[in-house]
Amino acid sequence: MADISGAFEVDGLVKQKEALESLMMSNPQMEKKVQGLIRKVLLVARKQISDAAKGEMKSDPRLAYKAVKTAVYRRILGGNVSILNKRKAGTRGPVPPVVHKLETKTNSKGNHRGGNRMPRSRRTEDLLTYQGADRGFILRFLNAGTDGRESRIGNRGAIAPRNFFATSSHTAMQKAAEQLDTLIQDLIKKELG
C-alpha cells in the first residue's frame, strides 16, 4: 500500500485529534489568546461609545468622553464597557495650599504689571479642573439626567436624560460580538494551519 504519511494512517489522525483538542478553551494558552481578542473588540466598542458621548455634548473641555472604560475579566471569558469606572483616569495637578476662610488674602499687592496673583483655593481648584472620577460623573448625569435642581438662590433647572449609553453600547457590543466570532475562527484556522 502506498504510504502517504499521515494522511491515510491512524497516526495522522491521532495528531489531528490532538490539534483539535488544543483548540479547546479549557486550554490555558487558548484562553489567553481569546482574552486578547476580547480586549481588542472591546476597545473598538469603547471608541464607538466615546464618540456617542462626544456627540451628546456641544463642548467638552474637560474631556469627559474619556470616562468610557473597558475591563476584561480574568476568571471567565468576557469583559465589559462602562461609564461606572471609579478609577482615576489621570492625576491631579499640584494641589494648592488650603486657605481657610479666616485667612483670606484677598488683597493682593497690585503692581505695574497688574493682575491678581492670589493663589487659588482648593475649592476653586476643584471647580475649575476635572479629573477621572469627575469625568465619569459628568457622563453619568448626562446619560441619566437629573431632577430639578435648586440652589439657595433659585431653581437651576433639570438636565434631560440623553440615554446615549444604552443605544450606543447595544450596537457597539453586538458588533464586538460578531467581530469576536470572526477573530476566533481566524485564530482556530491559524492554530490548525
Partner: protein, 715 residues
C-alpha cells in the same frame, strides 16, 4: 436606572465538548472503516472538493476495454505528476508510494491488455484491440476518481490538520489483485461515502457503523450485478449478431421456397435465449440499483433501528418499475401525511458565538410518535420521494432491459409466423411442413393465413410469462385482426389506414417505400367494389342534428375528390404508372359526392371521416384536440389526421396543433409589425413610498445621504 455598563461573555462549554467528541468519533470511524477495507484520512479544501465529486462519480466502465482505458489514463496522469516531482520529493514517503503504485498499475495494464488481446484474437479483431489500449487523456477525474491536483495538494498538506473528514477511496493504492476487485471497492467506497453524507445530513450517528457494513456489502452486490450485465452484453454481442444473421439467411431461404422450418425455429429460439440473458441481467441490475438506493437512504434515517427486509424493498422496486409516477405520487402523499403526524416541537437552549444563552422552540420530526409500521412506511416513503434522481438510474437500466425483451419477443413472433406460413401452405396443419406457393407474399397473406396467425398468437399469448410479453402478443393480435377486417371489407380500404395510402402511391410522394403493385391493385379493386356498392345503396336521412355534419362531410368529400384529381396529376408527373383501377376509384368518389345524403356509407368509404363530427370546421381556426373517440384526440405524433388539401397538397396533423384562419393570421402579422399595443391603455400612479425611495436613492448617489424621518420625543 439608565444603563451604564454593558457586558460581553463567551460560553465555551459546548464548544469544548464538541471538539472532544469530534476527535473521538473521528478515531472510532477510522477504525471501523479500516475493518471494512476502506481507509479514512483528512483532506484539505481541494481534496474535500474532489471527494465531493467522488460522490457524484458515474459508474466505472463495465467492459474490459473500458477498464483498460481508465487504467491507462490514470497511469499517464500519475506518471506525468511523478516526473514533475523533484528528487527530494521522489525520495519521501509519498513519492516512493507513488512509484510503487505506478509499477503496480503497469502490471495491471499489461494483464488487461493480454486479456483483451485474447478476446479479440478469438473474434479475429486484433486491430480494435490495439485501438482500445491507447485511449486519449480526457481529464483528471477518471473512473478511478483520482484527481491529480488534489493528490499534489495532499502531498503538500501532510502533517497539517484540517477540519474536513472524508472517506478516501484508497482502493487504487491498495487492491491490485484484479480489475473487478478494484472496481467493487470503488463502488463500495461510493456507497460508504453516500451513507456518510446521508448520516451527516440526518445527524444520526447511532446506526451509522451498523449500516456501514451493510452499505458496503450491498454496493459490492450491485457492482457484481452491473458487471454481469456488462459482461453478458459484451460477451453475447457477437453471438447475437451471428444468430441474427443466421435467422435472416433462413428467412430468405424460406421465401425462396426451401424447407428450413425446423432450422428457423431453432435459430429463433437460440437468438431469443441469448437476448433473454441480457434482459434478465438488466432486470436484476436495475432492481438492485433501486433497492440499493432505498437501502442507503433508509439506513441514514433509521434512528430506531426498524427492520425493513430486502424483500420489502424489492417489492417497492418492482412497483416503481411497473407503475412509475403513480408510485412516486402515492409515496409522496404518505410521506407528507406521516411527516405531519410525526412533527413535534422541543425547546432548545443554545449559546451563540456572542455568548448569549437563548432558548428557542424548534420543530422536528419525532418518529417515536408513529407506530412501528408507520415508521417503516415513513422511512420508505422518504427514501423514494427524496431519492428520485438516483432511482432513475435503476429505472433506466430496467427499461432498457424491457425494451430489449419486447424487441426479442417481436423477433420471435415474426420468426414463428414465417415458420407457420410454410405449415398453412401445405394444408393448414399448424406446425407441419409445407411448400410455399411461389407468388405468395408472406407479408400480405390471405384471410385463411391471417386467421391461422391469429389462432397461433392467441395460443402463445396464453403461455406468456410476463406482462410485457403478453402485451407484445396483444399488439400483434390487434394488427392481424385489423388486417383480416380489411380484407373482409369491414374497414375502409380507400384512403383508410396507412397501408391503403400506400396502395394509391401517396407514400411515394411523402417518402415512404413503394408497395408492391400487385397488392395495391387488390386493394384498389376492393375499393372500387365498395364504391359500386354505395352507388346502389339507398341512404336514409339522418336526424336533424346531423344535418350540419352532413354539410361538413360533403365539403370534406369535395375537397378530397379534388385532391385526388390533383394527386393523380402529380403522380403522373412523377412518372408513377397508375393501375387501371385507380381512375375507377376517383370516378366512384365523385359519384358518391353527388349523391350524398347519408353519412354512414361515407364513413365507411373515406379515410379521414371516421365519425360524423370528425370534419374539422376550421373556419374559425382552432386547436386539433376536440374529437373524442377518434384517432386524432389522443394522437400527438405520427401525423395521423391525414388528408388532401384543395390544391392537392397532403397534410398530416396531430392533436394539439393549431390551424389559423385568415383573420387570425392577419392579427399575428400586425402584432409582428409592432402595432400590438393598439388599444392598450396605461395609467401611472406614484405613491409616497416611491417618492421617498427616489429621494433616498438620489441622496445616496449624490452624497447627501438619506432622507430620514425622525420623531422628536417630548418629555
Amino acid at each position: 436606572m439608565a444603563d451604564i455598563i454593558s457586558r460581553l461573555k463567551l460560553e465555551s462549554g459546548e464548544f469544548d465538548s464538541k471538539l472532544k467528541r469530534a476527535g473521538q468519533e473521528m478515531l472510532a470511524y477510522s477504525e471501523h472503516c479500516k475493518s471494512m477495507g476502506l481507509q479514512m484520512g483528512y483532506a484539505n479544501k481541494d481534496a474535500k472538493e474532489f471527494a465531493k465529486a467522488l460522490g457524484d462519480m458515474k459508474t466505472v466502465s463495465q467492459t474490459a476495454r473500458g477498464k483498460l482505458n481508465e487504467l491507462t489514463e490514470v497511469f499517464t496522469n500519475l506518471k506525468a505528476m511523478y516526473n514533475q516531482m523533484t528528487d527530494d520529493e521522489k525520495q519521501n514517503t509519498f513519492g516512493k508510494g507513488l512509484a510503487a503504485s505506478l509499477d503496480k498499475l503497469k502490471t495491471r495494464i499489461d494483464e488487461a491488455k493480454q486479456n483483451l488481446n485474447s478476446v479479440n484474437a478469438e473474434l479475429g479483431n486484433t486491430k480494435q484491440a490495439e485501438q482500445g489500449a491507447t485511449s486519449g487523456i480526457d481529464g483528471l477525474t477518471s473512473a478511478l476518481g483520482i484527481n491529480l491536483k488534489s493528490l499534489a495538494g495532499w502531498g503538500a498538506a501532510l502533517g497539517a490538520g484540517k477540519v474536513a473528514l472524508d472517506v478516501v477511496k484508497d482502493a487504487f493504492m491498495q487492491s491490485e489483485s484484479n480489475i473487478d476487485e478494484w472496481g467493487r471497492t470503488v463502488k463500495s467506497s461510493e456507497a460508504a461515502y453516500d451513507l456518510f453524507l446521508n448520516t451527516i445530513n440526518g445527524g444520526n450517528w447511532s446506526n451509522f457503523f451498523t449500516n456501514l457494513s451493510e452499505a458496503v456489502r450491498g454496493a459490492r452486490d450491485l457492482y457484481d450485478a452491473l458487471d454481469r450485465l456488462g459482461s453478458v452484453k459484451s460477451n453475447n454481442q457477437a453471438a447475437i449478431a451471428f444468430w441474427q444473421q443466421e435467422v435472416q439467411r433462413l428467412r430468405q431461404m424460406k421465401e425462396e421456397g426451401k424447407d428450413v422450418d425446423e432450422q428457423l425455429t431453432k435459430a429463433t429460439e437460440k437468438l431469443r435465449g441469448l437476448q433473454q440473458q441480457a434482459v434478465n441481467a438488466g432486470k436484476v441490475a436495475g432492481t438492485k440499483t433501486i433497492v440499493e438506493v432505498l437501502k442507503n437512504r433508509i439506513a441514514g434515517e433509521n434512528v430506531n433501528g426498524i427492520n425493513i427486509s430486502e424483500g420489502t424493498l424489492k417489492g417497492y422496486a418492482g412497483s416503481i418499475t411497473r407503475n412509475g409516477q403513480s408510485v412516486y405520487d402515492n409515496q409522496a402523499k404518505i410521506y407528507s401525511q406521516l411527516t405531519a403526524k410525526a412533527r413535534d416541537t422541543r425547546v432548545v437552549s443554545r449559546i451563540n458565538a456572542q455568548g448569549v444563552n437563548t432558548s428557542t422552540e424548534e420543530s422536528f420530526i419525532n418518529l417515536n410518535k408513529l407506530t412501528k409500521e408507520q415508521q417503516k412506511q415513513y422511512l420508505i416513503a422518504k427514501a423514494i420521494t427524496e431519492g428520485k434522481s438516483e432511482i432513475k438510474t435503476g429505472i433506466e437500466i430496467y427499461a432498457q432491459a424491457l425494451s430489449e425483451e419486447a424487441g426479442s419477443i417481436k423477433e420471435q413472433i415474426k420468426g414463428n409466423r414465417y415458420v407457420l406460413r410454410g405449415a398453412s401452405g401445405s394444408g393448414g396443419s399448424s406446425g407441419g411442413k409445407g411448400k410455399v406457393k411461389k407468388d405468395t407474399k408472406l407479408v400480405s397473406g390471405s384471410i385463411a393465413d391471417l386467421t391461422e396467425d391469429l389462432k397461433y398468437l392467441q395460443q402463445e399469448q396464453q403461455k406468456a410469462t410476463s406482462y410485457e410479453e403478453w402485451e407484445t402478443y396483444a399488439d400483434a393480435i390487434k394488427e392481424v385482426t385489423n388486417n383480416i377486417k380489411e380484407l373482409k371489407g369491414e374497414l375502409p380500404s380507400i384512403g383508410g389506414n396507412m397501408p391503403d395510402m400506400k396502395a394509391i402511391g401517396l407514400e411515394s410522394i411523402i417518402g415512404q417505400p413503394k408497395p408492391d403493385w400487385k397488392s395495391r391493385e387488390d386493394i384498389l379493386a376492393r375499393g372500387q367494389k365498395s364504391l359500386d356498392k354505395m352507388k346502389t345503396q339507398k341512404f336514409e336521412k339522418q336526424e336533424e342534428k346531423d344535418s350540419k355534419n352532413q354539410q361538413s362531410v360533403a365539403e370534406g368529400v369535395d375537397k378530397m375528390v379534388s385532391g385526388f384529381s390533383s394527386m393523380t396529376t402529380g403522380l403522373e408527373k412523377l412518372g408513377i404508372e397508375l393501375p387501371a383501377g385507380m381512375q375507377g376509384v376517383i370516378s366512384g368518389i365523385q359519384t358518391v359526392s353527388s349523391i350524398l345524403t347519408g353519412i354512414s356509407a361515407i364513413v365507411s368509404a373515406i379515410q379521414i371521416i371516421t365519425a360524423a363530427d370528425t370534419i374539422i370546421p376550421f373556419a374559425r381556426g382552432g386547436i386539433i384536440n376536440a374529437f373524442s373517440g377518434t384517432l386524432v384526440g389522443n394522437s400527438y405524433s405520427g401525423d395521423n389526421l391525414r388528408g388532401i388539401g384543395p390544391g392537392g397538397q397532403l397534410y398530416g396533423l396531430n392533436a394539439g396543433e393549431v390551424v389559423l384562419n385568415r383573420s387570425q393570421v392577419g392579427n399575428l402579422a400586425s402584432q409582428l409589425e409592432g402595432s400590438w399595443l393598439d388599444g392598450v391603455y396605461l395609467d401611472t400612479i406614484i405613491t409616497a413610498e416611491d417618492i421617498r425611495l427616489v429621494m433616498n436613492n438620489n441622496g445616496r448617489r449624490t452624497g447627501r445621504g438619506e432622507y430620514v424621518q425622525t420623531n422628536v420625543r417630548r418629555r
